[in-house]
Symmetry: C2
Subunit: 159 residues, 2 copies
């Protein structure tokens, strides 16, 4: 889809690519965590990074599914036993998002939806919220990694 | 500016409001920091939150100025002595962004610019990067506040 230059900020395809760039970075942060710390380490009473990641997984593909099809079934996700299983769930969600995104009808981003029966607002805000929530918690994950003495992946690399 | 429903994700005015919502939250995070900790406290060798905030100030209004006028002068910002001065610089930037944003010519968001003579890419990506960088470092600020035993402001409140 080509965005007429005079009308807006970006196209749905550009927003998807922006999000998937962030998801590639978050995947590298998951990989950077020591296996024995990702589900246990915490600072200041916050959740371990694995729980934040599973929150992202519980919302990401189901959110796209909700917008694309009207089926807003939440998928509760418990923290898997290994980092490898977590990465597999992450990759599954990546594929599902890529498959469902083009099914979002043109014009939907400016329409209002009640996500998961609870959060009402324009669709573009719903997706920005999911991306922002991922960046926010990943920033906390960076702090965890630094506190563990691990160098996190560069923030600006999204490829 | 009204976005034709079929063309894109959001309008420039909507992106500005999204950013300013994040800036209001970041302002509350600055206020939440104990005065004696904002320029000194750190975790894992990361910068104190005041330095991250001044990085945001050094890029935000100057970035909008660059896109709006072609003047990409960087404004180096050292950490001020008090939190009140930091908040005053923050509020000055908020006003400047609101003033300059409507001067960005329609269509510019899909054009390429070299920000500050260094970062080349489409304008929409430049602004998303500045917002994302703010969210990322603010997430680290949340970790600092939690480690200091301070309850941060709710992430979802942007008013």
């Amino acid at each position: 889809m080509t965005l007429p230059n005079e009308s807006g900020v970006m196209t749905p395809a550009q927003l998807l690519e922006h999000w998937q760039g962030h998801r590639r970075l978050t995947r590298r942060v998951i990989e950077a965590f020591p296996e024995d710390q990702i589900s246990t380490f915490s600072l200041g009473g916050m959740r371990p990074f694995a729980e934040m990641v599973m929150e992202m997984v519980s919302m990401a593909a189901p959110g796209v599914q909700g917008v694309a099809s009207g089926d807003w079934t939440m998928r509760a996700r418990t923290v898997p036993a290994t980092r490898a299983e977590m990465l597999a769930l992450w990759d599954e969600a990546t594929e599902e998002i890529n498959t469902l995104w083009p099914r979002i009808p043109a014009g939907t981003f400016q329409e209002s939806r009640t996500a998961f029966g609870r959060y009402e607002g324009p669709v573009y805000q719903l997706f920005l919220y999911m991306i922002d929530n991922e960046i926010h918690h990943r920033g906390q994950g960076y702090a965890y990694l630094r506190a563990l003495g691990v160098e996190p992946p560069p923030f600006w690399e999204r490829g």
